[in-house]
């Protein structure tokens, strides 16, 4: 993007005009940046401050503890347990999510009468929020009223099966989004490439793995990153379905953070939040980096 002369044209390009343009720009940016400053960056600073201090139990005073609290929290039992839950949840939801998205999109990406109806149906779960999808899945996995309540690997009695049950609700909720995204990727595949492969006699399977997947790999990467970040921010579905149980076995990091909002707990809560911040950033970056090498851009 080149530096563009503003739409108002005057003969001279004097510094007065540049100053006015800059002022106009800053004025236009001001509203957004005020919000960013107050509710994005100031809180980040606050997190760091909280993590380095310990408040007393009354919440009325604090003392400097340096990085001890941060280190202790992030290497401590609670955080590691929460991280474990997030990772397991990620493993349960991301690969399946991507595969199902591809399955749905491949099925609905063809010339058939009424295909639009199917496309609308497949994308419909976009309308359900985390809370809605959790309540919806009460009908399926809840130990009292769910139709699958007797299914062993969805039981709420054990942490992993409870987590599996929660994952179902998230996978379902994400179906719409993954479908829409992969479909868009499929639609962007250039005709010429597909036609060429048909002329070369590529069967459907070969076409899928040799042509389609590589060509939509940027889309799949994007999808994987979106689902991964979503998995690290999981909280509401656990609260509504399992309450974090059994024995804290489905408590994600964010779940634990929401229980650490009291004045005497903000040091610990902020430390965990910083951990979450770094981890999410690292994972997204790593995913991007590693997968990027295997992703096929352009031709």
């Amino acid at each position: 993007m080149t530096a563009v002369a503003g739409p108002t044209a005057t003969a001279g390009r004097g510094s007065g005009r540049r100053v006015r343009e800059a002022i106009a720009a800053y004025l236009l940016l001001a509203p957004s940046f005020v919000v960013f400053a107050l509710f994005f960056f100031w809180p980040l600073w606050g997190l760091i401050h909280n993590a380095l201090h310990q408040k007393n139990i009354q919440g009325t005073a604090e003392k400097w503890v340096g990085s001890k609290q941060l280190v202790d929290t992030l290497t401590g039992e609670e955080f590691r347990q929460g991280l474990g839950v997030n990772v397991k949840f990620l493993v349960l939801t991301v690969p399946i999510g991507v595969v199902l998205g591809v399955l749905l999109a491949m099925s609905a990406h063809r010339r058939l009468r009424g295909i639009k109806i199917f496309q609308t149906i497949f994308s419909s779960t976009v309308a359900s929020s985390v809370a809605v999808s959790a309540v919806v899945f009460l009908t399926i996995v809840n130990p009292e009223i769910g139709i699958f309540r007797d299914v062993g690997w969805l039981s709420f009695d054990r942490p992993f099966s409870a987590l599996t049950a929660v994952s179902l609700s998230s996978i379902w909720r994400n179906l719409g989004l993954t479908f829409v995204i992969v479909l868009a990727g499929l639609q962007a595949v250039p005709d010429e490439v597909v036609e060429a492969s048909l002329l070369d006699g590529y069967g459907p399977v070969r076409r899928f793995f040799r042509i389609t997947i590589p060509l939509i790999s940027p889309t799949l990467l994007f999808l994987a990153v979106v689902l991964t970040v979503d998995a690290f921010q999981a909280y509401a579905q656990m609260e509504l379905l399992t309450g974090g149980g059994p024995a804290g076995g489905t408590e994600t990091i964010l779940f634990k953070i929401t229980r650490l909002l009291q004045p005497k707990d903000v040091g610990e809560g902020s430390s965990m939040a910083l951990g979450l911040f770094v981890i999410t950033g690292l994972v997204a970056a790593a995913q991007f980096g590693v997968l990027n090498r295997r992703v096929h851009y352009g031709d």
Partner: protein, 310 residues
């Protein structure tokens, strides 16, 4: 005016509804019909799977709750279905108020985001100023700081202002629910993308005609980018309406629950009125479903904005 008419004929962000090319080889008609039938079967099966949880929810929502309790609560088909159980659930569960409250909060957030993003995107797309790249970097950086990360200290901020406290009143709750979301990097990105695609000649023509910034924004930039702006409005609505984390941390009085929080409040409350949570879930989804069906194209474009290259 020439410029205005030029604007209405430009739609650089029209989505491509491309379907795959047909196979080149000739097909016998019956084999083709068989294959088509196969696809329909597969698609229908997949649709059933996708819709099944929704079906279960509707079943529970319309079943007679006391009878349902007696039979153990886990049933696949409606029990004594009554269509007015919806209205009754609505009234018993008091679902109208949180729904309106949610809509009000959402509209304010969407409006705020739209305004702030339009201004900021304009600056980034059309103006030149010192530290432009740095400031753009700052915008990108905010993507790393979602409310999930900044929860603790944002709660503290509002506690210091006295807006999050046990005797929270409506104004404080509304402020807490909306303020942190009045600006967003996504809006700035999307709208800037739209602005950047304003054709050079239009810009030059406007410059020659002496258009001021605001006039250019209103008469040229926005109309040209209307599709992408519409997409942004939709995903902004979706995001604001479906929020759970921040409302659960910032609303302290049940009276000011959003509809998403109400789901938590009514779930597990009355054992003999199990239809209420499910009716609530359906009620909560209706506004978004309506938008989805009415504006599917724009919504799709907004959701896929980062996914597809070119």
């Amino acid at each position: 005016m020439a410029i205005e008419s030029a604007v209405t004929h430009t739609d650089p962000m029209a989505p491509d509804r491309k379907l795959p090319p047909e196979a080149a080889s000739p097909e016998r008609s019956h084999r083709s019909a068989l294959r088509k039938a196969g696809w329909y079967v597969l698609l229908s099966a997949l649709s059933l799977v996708v819709l099944f949880p929704l079906y279960m929810t509707i079943v529970r929502a319309i079943s007679n709750p006391s009878k349902a309790l007696l039979t153990g609560g886990a049933h696949l088909t409606p029990i004594d279905a009554e269509w007015d159980s919806f209205t009754r659930a609505f009234n018993e569960g008091n679902l109208g108020r949180p729904l309106l409250w949610s809509l009000a909060v959402t509209l304010v957030i969407v409006g705020g985001q739209l305004l702030t993003s339009l201004f900021a995107a304009y600056a980034f797309a059309f103006l030149d100023f010192p530290f432009k790249r740095v400031l753009f970097g700052v915008v990108v950086a905010t993507l790393l700081l979602p409310i999930e990360v900044t929860l603790v200290t944002n709660v503290e901020t509002f506690q210091d202002w006295g807006w999050i406290q046990p005797n929270q009143n409506g104004g404080q709750a509304f402020g807490a629910l909306t303020l942190p979301f009045l600006a967003t990097a996504i809006g700035i990105f999307l709208i800037r993308q739209g602005f950047l695609s304003v054709p050079r000649d239009l810009r030059d023509a406007a410059a020659l005609d002496g258009y001021g910034h605001l006039r250019f924004l209103w008469r040229v930039a926005i109309p040209v980018s209307r599709p992408i702006i519409a997409s942004f409005v939709l995903i902004s609505f979706l995001g604001a309406y479906n929020q759970y984390v921040w409302p659960s941390a910032s609303v302290r009085t049940q009276m000011y629950n959003t509809i998403q929080l109400t789901l938590r409040a009514v779930t597990g409350q009355r054992l003999d009125q199990l239809n209420i949570p499910f009716a609530a879930a359906i009620v909560a989804s209706i506004p978004v479903l309506v938008l989805l069906i009415a504006f599917q194209r724009h919504l799709v474009r907004g959701l896929t904005a980062g996914a597809v290259k070119g």
